[in-house]
């Protein structure tokens, strides 16, 4: 039982690490392509292509670079998390009503102030939706990390499959599923707290 707990924690750590690193890249990137729309096409197609690479193929490719182990798993999770976060940041910012942006300009907000006080807060619900998708996806993909020597709940699932041990498969897959549901639920709560009251 303790093993299940430790692997669950490890699983969560891997997934969150992947999403967090992706956030640091994806949000600035989303803002960048919003500001310089000329780059939007290239960046979005690129992240789109990354997304379509099958996860096992992605892990194998990354393994060639990062070797066996958790680093490779995290790298894959970062890459998969990029698309939903970049795209939603971009879409969320683009959806901000032009009249609000004009009101901000007309009152003498600088570009940065508009981003900080108007555009990002208003785009936040859409950005958060992207983060939720990324997190749930990451928790799912992390389960196959075991194939390239990663840790997490995949370890139990994989061993269970090899030994046709149903109990072990369940000990891995049930916590993994619960983790995904719980993460989505908690992010929903965080979203509620982050989003200003007037916008519900």
């Amino acid at each position: 039982m303790e093993r299940v707990f430790l692997l669950t924690v490890e699983h969560l750590q891997l997934s969150l690490m992947g999403v967090l690193i992706a956030l640091l890249v994806a949000i600035p990137l989303g803002i960048f392509i919003y500001r310089y729309k000329g780059f939007a096409g290239v960046v979005l197609s690129l992240t789109d292509v990354i997304q379509t690479i099958p996860s096992l193929a992605m892990l194998a490719l990354l393994m060639l670079v990062f070797g066996l182990g958790n680093t490779t798993v995290i790298a894959a999770l970062v890459l998969y998390s990029l698309l939903p976060i970049v795209r939603n940041t971009y879409t969320g910012l683009n959806n901000v009503s032009p009249s609000l942006i004009e009101a901000g300009r007309g009152m003498g907000m600088t570009r940065f102030q508009r981003l900080r006080y108007v555009e990002l807060p208003l785009a936040l619900p859409v950005i958060m939706a992207g983060i939720r998708v990324a997190t749930v996806t990451a928790i799912g993909i992390a389960t196959i990390g075991v194939l390239i020597g990663g840790g997490g709940l995949g370890v139990l699932i994989w061993r269970g499959i090899q030994n046709t041990d149903t109990q072990m498969i369940l000990m891995g897959s049930i916590p993994a599923a619960l983790l995904a549901i719980l993460a989505d639920f908690l992010l929903g709560k965080i979203e509620k707290r982050l989003i200003p009251k007037g916008m519900n």
Binding site: E102, A103, G104, R105, G106, M107, Y117, P121, L122, G198
Partner: protein
């Protein structure tokens, strides 16, 4: 106060929105610019706070050529009210009103005091409304806040782009009355764009009637009604409106 000196605006597609527009707006004057859509009235307005840059000509506010000013600083010194109201839904009413004071770095106490003062000006109890969000207010209340927001740092000049256009007729009427009183009391210079002739006749000290980027006639409501410059002016005002206006004048 504001001088337009042969101001023109040609867009990149070649369309000439404003042609050689010259006009002097006096201190404390309520100037209404009116005309059919596409006549260049909004473009002219937006050139005053440099949301649109003129292709040629110069605009002076006071003695200063506005192209020599930093646009961000310039805009903070000019009130601006738009048709879509443009209140920020993510900010409470008090935060919406004190945006420009915040940008200018006013102290918290001073801002709070100003918000209370402004809300009282339109008879909205600060206790009740300061912490509410725009979505909790009616359209009329929202645009009152839109106007207050423009008044926050007491700019001598306020630009208004069809501010009451999106409101229902009764609310619009009330707001017009209220605003006219407010303007006289505060002695602001207003440049106001509308396509509603009733509104123009009701509010304006002077009306600028535009067509195809040019001024057709400038004059007080009386002058426009009693001596329209040409056929276009009288058609635009409309005969029934002229009758009504004259009747209410003689009464």
């Amino acid at each position: 106060m504001v001088i337009f000196d042969r101001v023109s605006k040609q867009y990149e597609d070649g369309h000439e929105a404003v042609k050689e527009f010259s006009l002097e707006v006096k201190d404390g004057e309520f100037l209404v610019m009116i005309g059919p859509s596409g006549c260049g009235k909004t473009t002219t307005l937006k050139m005053v706070n440099r949301l649109i840059e003129p292709t040629s000509g110069t605009i002076y506010i006071g003695q200063k050529d506005i192209t020599k000013e930093d646009p961000v600083k310039l805009r903070r010194e000019i009130g601006y009210v738009i048709q879509d109201i443009g209140l920020f839904p993510n900010m409470a009413i008090e935060q919406n009103i004190d945006i420009v004071p915040r940008l200018l770095g006013w102290s918290k106490e001073k801002r709070k005091q100003r918000v209370d003062e402004l809300l009282s000006l339109v008879e909205m109890d600060p206790e009740v409304y300061a912490k509410r969000y725009p979505s909790e207010l009616s359209g009329g209340q929202q645009q009152r806040i839109g106007v207050l927001r423009a008044l926050a740092v007491e700019p001598p000049l306020i630009l208004m782009d069809e501010p009451f256009g999106a409101l229902d007729p009764i609310t619009r009427d009330n707001l017009q009355e209220e605003f006219k009183v407010l303007q006289k009391k505060l002695n602001k210079t207003i440049i106001f764009v509308t396509h509603d002739m009733d509104e123009a006749l009701k509010l304006a000290d002077r009306i600028v009637l535009m067509k195809d980027g040019e001024i057709v006639q400038v004059g007080s409501p009386d002058e426009l009604v009693n001596s329209p410059a040409d056929e276009f002016v009288s058609t635009f005002i409309g005969s029934s409106r002229m009758e009504n206006y004259k009747r209410s004048e003689t009464r």
